[in-house]
Symmetry: C2
């Protein structure tokens, strides 16, 4: 392995790992290269990894993991790094195992409605690969144009269309997993129905990279709906908009998507790359999509329009064509980033509430905004009660980062207090570890960390994520504040 | 506690347990009473429990469990005892904790589409309690008129309508669980969306009573579909029928149910309590149901009729009214029991295959039937590839029970070999422990038993179920043969 001479470091582990992945281009270890890996979509907290390796196949992943396991080196897996809760941040100077070279679409089996992909395969590419044959992959996080399906599995990612079709876990049929000791197991096999025994498939999905590293994924693919129609509805107050959401669901319709943005969010998306001309003085906009058999859609759209009118809608319109529909969705899906157009920094939160509590919770978030002196925009999956308060702040102003973190945490407390929970689709990561206590008792957290212990007994894989530890939380908050103040 | 004098046994544990459940009528310990609890729906294997207790609430369950835990007494939970794989059979002279007194409907929350029930609440009663208000509970095992929702959770029960709506695990939003040490935890809380952390809800659901005892269940309820139509289609050969199934699914329709019965099954159901006049010489009948918005249904039914005709259907008819639809379903749902009309005994199996393998697998099952000299009827959820071969035999004929067990096992091997699995909805229990090796490696089984170890370290709760243990399997098969020969 002549290339090993190119490795310029005294760290012998780097040489060994380079030997495993087989080329000097498959490992990064210089500080300037590592800087790109010090955080993910959760940018407040930054830590450098020890190295980043790029395995090409399951065997290389297993060999890297085995090496880390035997040498007590902390490690974690990373996809596109678009996660929003810090799940891929190397808190403990980890060896990052990047999955981006494992990005093949291995198999499409239309007859049995499934596809097999490597973890680094980009979410949207799957739909693009099968759409001409009339199929698609349902989970559609807003980052779907670049996020990987492996990362989606780790975080159990959601998306606008998960109201009708379910989140990632509802579409995963099988996994190949490298366990933290380097053993390879298959769960769900060829993706036929529920397997006997414990539901390890469900357990691994959404375990935020703490139980194993996924190296192959069998997903469910769906037939394109025959038809699709999309509606924008503008309301002069948030209560009417929320009530319309509730009424639509209680009418028995399950829209494919039912999204809401409030006035501050509208200001942001209209100032950013994909404005669509939302009225500036409106308090709430709903983006509603219905799909299915053509014959049924018109009837559902009629019902939706009737509901909106009964809730004092100011204006409501149906997308004229696919191009207009596409513009509306681009406007919504780039909504988080759009906040950059009206604020130097923003922190996105991710709480879930019973739909019936929508007006009450939005009022309380408004209060938190007033008390903190920070604007909070709301862009969210209204249909399933999954809120995304976006706390706008300026990290250059001393104290504002801490205020934003606190306001975000208070929003989650409100969600927990009305019987909701602290994350719908972004995960806990490092961001919401302490907030786990809003929804779990010590015994309940222990039941979970005991499970981690089984799979990950040395806790070398993605340590310090997902769970609070007594005393440790306070310390972490301090670290975060210190890091934020830099 | 004066009633303790009524307890006539020297077994001091029985006295203590009676004290916990608070009355002499809440415990059974005499052999004649225990005989009713020596098996469940899997009747080949019989074992007497040490006692049966009937707690009235979570605290009593926890106290009984704690007592067993501290005194090293094996124990297990039992619902209606309709399970088909022996999950509730007391292999180790267990204390059975019967959940039948915990049978209240605790709460219905229509706005957020959920209901809270005790585990002993009967499945069908939930739908009956909310149907007038326009709602229903989707999972519908054929035993739904008497099986309990607690049992459904343990086995992750399916049913005819799970093709469109998913099995039990897709409808469980929260659980209260007594762990094997007597601790009480809540998972999923008020049933709002996915919780952070590991998916313990999924892990517990379908864990066949080996990880904990469920004492409260929050389930998803659905709005009644606006309309519903049901079709019977008769085919002169099984290949045409199977191909029609495949064609219907690939056309993009997801029927609410898509059931199939073969000639032997038809002979049975027509000889039993709910005949509907299926032609006697037909090779396959499909029972197809479509539901949803009225406007879309007619179109789907038209498509289904077209598919059936293109596959040489002999006759096809749409149910004229709810009464006819009800008769067709009674005919199908009592199908297993109906085999009693044409055979002294039967063994029902439960394999899953990729839909595309249907014709091949049915042909191989036919071969197994010929080779064993036993008739095998097939009644199954064709839409999701969930087969139920019913091996007909006569336990009074020496050797036939063993032959039936072997034929059943061979059917599962066929399913596993084509990329399927060994159970769709009945569970592994004691029946299919050895067959777990058809689909799992030793490492994969170990990953699962390690999980059991976390929750159930003393293995007092429902021991000997779900997993093979080296050497033990052979022993169990011998036991079963001995017990069958009695």
């Amino acid at each position: 392995m002549a290339f090993l001479k190119e490795i310029k470091t005294n760290d012998q582990h780097i040489h060994k790992l380079a030997g495993i992945v087989g080329s000097a281009r498959s490992i990064l270890y210089k500080k300037e290269d590592l800087l790109a890996y010090d955080c993910d979509g959760f940018t407040i907290h930054k830590h450098l990894p020890r190295a980043v390796v790029f395995p090409k196949n399951t065997e290389e992943v297993a060999a890297v993991v085995k090496y880390c396991h035997e040498n007590d080196l902390p490690f974690l897996a990373r996809g596109a790094g678009t996660g929003l809760s810090g799940g891929a941040i190397p808190l403990n100077n980890e060896i990052i195992i990047s999955m981006v070279k494992m990005k093949r679409l291995l198999r499409v089996d239309l007859e049995n409605r499934r596809a097999v992909v490597e973890p680094g395969f980009v979410n949207l590419k799957l739909t693009n690969s099968i759409s001409e044959r009339g199929y698609y992959y349902a989970p559609d996080p807003s980052s779907q144009y670049c996020c990987t399906i492996g990362g989606n599995v780790a975080e159990n990612a959601g998306g606008a269309h998960c109201l009708k079709y379910g989140v990632t876990t509802n579409h995963i049929l099988g996994l190949e997993v490298v366990l933290p000791n380097g053993e390879i197991i298959e769960i769900g096999k060829d993706g036929v129905a529920d397997e006997p025994g414990y539901d390890l498939l469900g357990l691994l999905t959404g375990s935020e990279g703490t139980l194993g590293i996924v190296t192959k994924i069998t997903v469910r693919i769906l037939k394109n709906p025959e038809g699709k129609q999309t509606v924008l509805a503008y309301f002069d107050n948030v209560a009417d908009g929320s009530q319309a959401v509730s009424d639509i669901i209680s009418s028995g319709i399950v829209p494919a998507a039912l999204e809401m943005m409030d006035k501050t969010a509208i200001e942001g998306v209209e100032a950013a790359a994909f404005p669509v001309g939302h009225p500036k003085d409106i308090e709430a906009v709903l983006l509603i999509e219905v799909d299915g058999i053509t014959a049924g859609i018109d009837e559902q759209i009629e019902q939706i329009l009737t509901v909106c009118r009964s809730r004092n809608v100011r204006e409501v319109k149906v997308a004229r064509d696919e191009a207009e529909r596409g513009r509306w969705w681009a406007n919504r899906k780039t909504g988080f980033g759009a906040m950059g157009a009206i604020s130097p920094d923003y922190l996105v939160q991710d709480g879930v509430i019973p739909r019936s509590k929508l007006p009450e919770v939005l009022a309380r978030i408004n209060q938190i905004s007033e008390e903190s002196g920070l604007r909070i925009a709301n862009i969210f999956h209204a249909g399933d009660g999954n809120l995304h308060p976006l706390v706008l702040f300026d990290a250059r102003v001393p104290g504002e980062t801490e205020k934003a973190l606190e306001a975000g945490s208070l929003c989650l407390k409100v969600c927990a207090d009305v019987g909701g929970t602290i994350t719908g689709e972004h995960g806990v990561g490092i961001e919401k570890r302490e907030e786990m206590r809003f929804v779990f008792t010590e015994e309940e957290i222990a039941a979970q960390t005991d499970v981690r212990e089984v799979f990950n007994p040395k806790n070398l894989l993605n340590a310090g994520k997902l769970f609070p530890s007594p005393g440790r939380c306070v310390e972490i908050k301090k670290e975060m504040k210190a890091s934020a103040a830099l």
